[in-house]
Symmetry: C2
Subunit: 126 residues, 2 copies
């Protein structure tokens, strides 16, 4: 994640669907499925799913979390201080768990679509 650093975002590289809600949301919810986390932790944890988390602007994650809280997919409670402001801890709700399940199914279906496209492309190469 970047903060106060320069050189970021879409500049230079393409990152197709990686930063879309449809992929980021399940990445975040999955982390909360394992354990409660605060935003910065979720951001750092994204490196398991993406490469170049350094180029990811933190505000995107915080914004998404607040949005998911409004939709009641997650709920937050006040965590401890660490080194800085009080942490906002997130916990997955029951609705969030079902939403994760649905997102997983959608991703499976999407993978199938990608596979079809790739195999058609391959068949035209020879």
């Amino acid at each position: 994640m970047r903060n106060k650093r320069h050189g970021r975002g879409r500049r230079g590289q393409q990152h197709g669907q990686l930063r879309s809600k449809g992929f980021l949301q399940p990445c975040l919810l999955l982390q909360l499925y394992e354990k409660d986390c605060h935003g910065y932790e979720l951001l750092a944890g994204l490196e398991e799913f993406l490469d170049s988390v350094e180029e990811m602007d933190p505000s995107i994650i915080y914004r998404l979390m607040r949005e998911m809280e409004e939709k009641e997919l997650v709920e937050s409670y006040s965590g401890e201080y660490s080194r800085g402001p009080k942490r906002r801890m997130y916990r997955l709700t029951t609705a969030g768990r079902s939403y994760l399940q649905i997102s997983i199914e959608e991703l499976k279906q999407f993978r199938t679509k990608i596979d079809r496209l790739l195999s058609i492309y391959k068949s035209l190469q020879k």
Copy 2:
């Protein structure tokens, strides 16, 4: 594809990344890789890659085609009348061919990311 029909778009269903540029573009370019096509044909041909093409608004495709023409990934020429206005035929350019190649690689990488996410989810189920 829908035209003058009601009941469409995001209403009702979710369609994760399916309608994103990152997926639609390679679907369209791949069709042109096989043979020259006009917009309506490309739209119809999408059913090979998506389900529910009926719910896809044609203007999205036409808009994308014009955009790709500006970027010189495709070029157009005037086709024959069929039953209606003159068809605008599209042909893949050399740049478009390389772009398709790159998109294919990106999709492969994305599939890998999906796989990772799915396997983590699965490992937590047991």
